[in-house]
């Protein structure tokens, strides 16, 4: 039995919406994610994947239940404390890239590093390193609007990994990409997971993407339907 503390622990989490809290996005979800995991949250649209990722990323508060990150109970954290926790420990990749259009590629990557108080020289090094990893160093001065969708998503990956957070949450990272570019992106994330040991939790309903995950948690109607670790071919 492992004695290490899981990176994320979600305990009996409910997320209810509506004036009468009549809409259940999550209903009593309990799961944990260990350091170094490469977890895919699978399930159809409306199954609760994004809601669960938002709760894990401290972007939302559960209606009931507890979310612990790196051993910290996050229930009593203020908006400010949650923001500080995110910038220190989490990276995000979104389906729609969500880059800041008025900043250059390099500035987009630097932005969270600036918020995290990194010194200029260190920021520059981390940005260059992250861009090298995603193969976009030549585009560092371009604005996001000048890049293709796949390139923008790689910039989003670079932004997420630049500060070397222990956990990266990705909501449908391949959702806006064609299958070839999507597969390449998942390969990139897998490589980062293996080389840097970064933990990834991402959502997808694409079977090709799901097939590349080392652990697949399937949600259905806000509840965990299955939690499996598929056998991967060497």
């Amino acid at each position: 039995m492992s004695t290490t503390t899981p990176l994320i622990t979600v305990t009996n989490v409910w997320r209810l919406f509506g004036i009468l809290r009549q809409d259940r996005a999550l209903a009593g979800v309990t799961m944990s994610v260990d350091s170094g995991d490469f977890v895919c949250l699978a399930g159809p649209s409306g199954s609760g994947k994004t809601t669960l990722l938002n709760l894990m990323g401290l972007l939302d508060l559960p209606s009931r239940g507890q979310v612990s990150l790196l051993g910290h109970d996050t229930r009593d954290l203020s908006l400010r404390q949650r923001a500080i926790f995110r910038r220190a420990h989490l990276g995000f990749i979104f389906q729609a890239y969500n880059l800041i259009p008025v900043l250059s590629v390099a500035e987009n990557i630097e932005y969270p590093l600036i918020l995290n108080g990194q010194k200029a020289q260190e920021r520059s090094r981390l940005t260059r390193q992250a861009l090298d990893l995603v193969g976009l160093n030549d585009h560092r001065h371009k604005r996001p609007g000048q890049l293709s969708g796949g390139q923008q998503q790689r910039v989003a990956v670079a932004r997420a990994i630049a500060g070397s957070p222990p956990l990266i949450l990705a909501d449908e990272p391949t959702g806006s990409l064609d299958s070839e570019t999507g597969a390449a992106l998942i390969e990139l994330l897998l490589g980062l997971n293996q080389e840097l040991g970064t933990t990834f939790v991402f959502s997808s309903h694409d079977p090709k993407v799901i097939a590349q995950a080392r652990r697949v948690v399937t949600l259905h109607d806000g509840q965990i339907a299955s939690d499996i670790r598929p056998e991967r071919q060497p």
């Binding site: 994004t50 972007l59 400010r80 923001a83 995110r86 910038r87 008025v102 900043l103």
Partner: protein, 406 residues
């Protein structure tokens, strides 16, 4: 690059996203600023014209009277020991003064008559304080005891001219009626109709002899010194004893002082209204911007920006807009004000009979750099305050909800 630097960078770059909207908002704020600068400078010019007309026609900047003097008192209040006062004025360096004896009188010309104030003056001294002797339109100033100079308007209404005679009636120092014929040697035209119709000038010695007040004067008027009046008045009051009354023009012409205060109050209300409109414009723009970028604030929040950081970002955008409007408005407003300071606006059609426009009928702008600084300060503060509400709503939103915003 520190967090503040990137906040400012983002603020300015965000303004370029919807250039037309930003330009319209900035132009509206800048236009308001230009209007305020021009109104303020013209108002200042108007006040200076009113003040100079008031002081240069008769009052001077400061007057010294005997204790108990009141502007509307009919009885003559003489100035004790005038030589001592003039000595003190010279010692204080206040050499541009005019000794005067004033009395109420009545002039008769055939079947016509008019009530006037008799001014006994020394022409050389009077020229250093007022403009009347520079505004002689016919003849010359009176030199002899039985000579008089009257206003052109008064002469016309009495049907008199240079060389004609008129009879002046008054009371001597003891209340005894006095009457004497005088010859008109000159006509003046100050442009202030009421003054020209109600004031006549005699040599000081002539009036003293006429009302049996040899060696006496009723007031000393002192010209503007260029500096602030309050210290000069303080020095005079410290130097002169209780027998004397030292008054600034503001006390002697309370109507002008009140009119200036009224103008200032009106301007303050106008400024308030303009800045309220400016604030509403900024709130409208910033609310639209905030609504359009809800999702982006969610991204920034996800990156780890605190609510205070997001609030600073939105406020910085409002401030950036205010700053750009401030620069554009100041450059344009100052340029227009400098033009108006040089060439002015000809108001002859509106002011030809106005008592506050004897010196000139061209209203020139007077640019006060303190007003420029204050107006700019108000613009930036208004921008900051107007941006707070949208900034607050952007900062307090749930990041997950913001990210799901279309």
């Amino acid at each position: 690059m520190k967090a503040l630097a990137i906040t400012i960078l983002l603020a300015f770059r965000n303004l370029s996203r919807n250039r037309r909207r930003s330009a319209l908002t900035i132009t509206a704020i800048a236009f308001a600023l230009v209007c305020l600068l021009i109104f303020g400078a013209l108002k200042e010019g108007l006040h200076q014209t009113m003040i100079s007309t008031t002081t240069d026609t008769d009052l001077g900047a400061i007057q010294i009277h005997g204790q108990g003097y009141a502007p509307n008192l009919v009885s003559l209040t003489t100035l004790p020991d005038p030589d001592r006062v003039t000595g003190d004025l010279n010692a204080l360096g206040l050499t541009a003064f005019a000794r005067r004896l004033k009395a109420n009188g009545l002039i008769l010309a055939g079947a016509k008559s008019a009530a006037v104030v008799l001014h006994g003056v020394i022409a050389e001294e009077e020229q250093r304080v007022t403009i009347v002797h520079q505004r002689i339109v016919a003849g010359s100033p009176p030199n002899e005891g039985r000579e008089v100079m009257i206003g052109q308007g008064l002469a016309a209404s009495l049907g008199l001219g240079v060389g004609d005679q008129l009879t002046v009636m008054s009371q001597d120092l003891f209340g005894t009626p006095a009457s004497r014929k005088f010859t008109i040697t000159g006509l003046f035209h100050t442009g202030v109709a009421a003054f020209d119709l109600g004031h006549i000038f005699l040599p000081l010695a002539g009036l003293q002899a006429f009302i049996d007040a040899e060696g006496m004067i009723s007031e000393i008027a002192i010209a503007k010194t260029g500096g602030p009046l309050a210290p000069e008045i303080l020095r005079l009051r410290q130097r002169l004893d209780h027998r004397y009354q030292v008054s600034a023009w503001q006390e002697l012409a309370p109507d002008v002082t009140q009119l200036i205060a009224l103008n200032d109050s009106t301007m303050a209300i106008l400024i308030g209204i303009v800045f309220l409109i400016v604030a509403m414009g900024i709130v409208n723009t910033m609310t639209t911007i905030t609504f359009e970028r809800f999702r982006e604030f969610g991204i920034i929040a996800a990156m780890g920006a605190t609510p205070a950081g997001i609030m600073a970002l939105v406020s910085a955008e409002a401030m950036a807009m205010g700053l750009m409007a401030s620069i554009a408005g100041t450059v344009t407003g100052v340029a227009v004000c400098l033009y108006l300071a040089r060439y002015g606006i000809d108001l002859t059609a509106l002011t030809s009979t106005n008592q506050y426009f004897s010196n000139t009928h061209v209203l020139k702008a007077v640019l006060d750099w303190r007003t420029v600084a204050a107006t700019n300060g108000f613009t930036l503060i208004t921008a900051l305050i107007a941006g707070l509400s949208p900034a607050w709503s952007a900062a307090r939103q749930n990041p997950a909800q913001a990210l799901s915003h279309p």
